[in-house]
């Protein structure tokens, strides 16, 4: 049996804000139960406002459930100490990299996480350099993070979590501002961390071609989990996904509209299928 790393049990979360002096509740997640196993790569999809970032923040104790329970490796983060312990296990990349910048020099920013984990300086140096190289930002290490382009900031934020080498990383739309090559490189890095180092990955994304590469896909709609399965199962159901405001990769869509096959996941599968059928036309 696989070992659980994060477990949501009937979790409900509501944001509370003051509006014209009266507190107003905004429910963001309702009765969510979800298990993430150690070593898994899980993608989380869902429309804007469906509750993905809320779910992500509950994974590393930035938010506390209004109802229900989140457990990380057996720890329920109900005290500051336990929340810190959880943050040593689960690292996070926020949706907006500006919210993540803590230092005025890129390399200090990346070193911040490992320093907080109490890693020894020589080790930190190596981790920071390796992390920056893995996102192609090494030559920017002496720059000010605030004075970088949108995509460069995003890469620095990703380097920050890579350098922490936590057992689990949660990435909230880490590639939203990256160019095509950068997006591909980040996916390669994420998969390498997952496959080679056994790091558990939770990836929130609006890119279907990224979700396809996960072991499992979770779909959130209006604060509830509505689909949960292997990419092929999930992407076989084009109409259902569309009803949740989502889509499928172009390869999947092409085979779907041509009515030749459902659940095709990538370019090569698509090309093989079409070439096979078109054999007669050659």
């Amino acid at each position: 049996m696989s070992e659980k790393i994060i477990e949501f049990e009937n979790v409900t979360f509501a944001y509370e804000t003051e509006e014209e002096d009266a507190p107003v509740q905004f429910p963001a997640l309702t009765d969510v139960s979800l298990t993430i196993n150690k070593g898994e790569f899980v993608a989380v999809l869902g429309h804007n406002g469906s509750g993905k970032s809320t779910l992500a923040k509950l994974c590393n104790a930035i938010l506390e459930p209004t109802k229900g329970k989140v457990t990380v490796k057996g720890i329920v983060p109900d005290t500051e100490e336990k929340a810190d312990e959880v943050r040593r296990i689960v690292g996070m990349v926020f949706q907006n990299p500006d919210n993540q910048i803590v230092a005025t020099i890129v390399e200090d920013d990346v070193a911040f996480g490992p320093e907080n984990l109490g890693i020894e300086p020589a080790q930190i140096r190596k981790r920071v350099d390796d992390a920056l190289k893995s996102v192609n930002m090494y030559e920017f290490r002496h720059r000010e993070p605030h004075k970088l382009s949108g995509g460069q900031k995003q890469r620095v934020a990703i380097a920050g979590v890579i350098a922490m080498q936590t057992e689990c990383i949660v990435l909230d739309e880490p590639t939203a501002m990256l160019d095509p090559k950068g997006r591909e490189e980040v996916m390669q890095t994420v998969k390498r961390l997952n496959k080679e180092m056994g790091i558990t990955v939770v990836l929130v994304t609006h890119f279907m071609d990224e979700a396809v590469q996960a072991d499992r896909v979770v779909v959130v709609d209006g604060g509830r989990i509505v689909m949960n399965g292997k990419p092929r199962e999930i992407f076989s159901n084009v109409e259902k996904l569309r009803s949740f405001g989502l889509d499928v990769p172009q390869s999947t869509e092409l085979c779907h509209v041509l009515g030749i096959k459902e659940g095709v996941l990538d370019v090569d599968e698509c090309v093989d299928e079409i070439a096979r059928l078109a054999g007669g036309a050659l």
Binding site: G49, N96, D98, Q152, A176, D179, G182, Q250, C270, G280
Partner: protein, 288 residues
Amino acid sequence: MSYTIETIGLTHYYSKGTVQQVAAINDVNLKIEKGELVGIIGHTGSGKSTLISHFNGLLKPDSGKVLVDGVDIWKDKETLKKSRFKVGLCFQYPEYQLFEETVYKDIAFGPKNMKLSEAEIKERVMRAAAFTGVKAEHLGKSPFDLSGGEKRRVAIAGVMSMEPEVLIFDEPAAGLDPRGRNALINLIKDYRKQTGSTVIIVSHSMEDIAEMADRVIVMNNSSVAMQGSVDEVYSRGDELRAMGLNVPEITEIFAKLRAKGLDVPQNVYTVEQGAAILRKLLERGSAK
């Protein structure tokens, strides 16, 4: 004849005079015509945001000029101010744009500055909100208490409510869910058709640009590397890849089909286009 936007030798340095001085854009010469829908693509850090921030005077050139309707926007204060109403810019990160107490006030900010009547302001806010899919129940909320994609919609609505002659979007679809992304593409196309506005879109999505743009400008290392129609630019896939870009997935599918010996065209950039071609091909195949 003058162009809606023209840049002549436009150059901008950051951290000028320090060891970290960077030429973020270098000698950029562009001409954008009225009513055009121009897509700007380019690798991370290539200078796209810096370039468009010059179009409404948010950044001042270190050398070179920006002309709007033939007039140098830095000619005098009055011209600069006018160009800010004429050219609406929606930032890459919506957080940079949002600052009011409520979503309603944020969308109303531009029209208010334009000294429109209260009734006109309200009408514009409601129209822009509906256009961009901002939910009615969010209008009284603080923009900071919204999800990432919801903030993006408010930021876009805030620019659209000014109904500027030139609309510039920096990564407008980043963070939008697929339905929102498609809706935005249609919205921008419709808006342009209805108003004849000039639209400039910076995007990393080769797919979105293929669906919208009349003309594509490719930035590479602070300079313009290519420009032309979607077809002219996208047919140079290898060069694009060397610059950190790529071609849409559908284009890649067609390249691989050709490599397998299938008689299909190279210049396929949307799924719709591709499906139509393959339908015919497969029918022929089964007829044999």
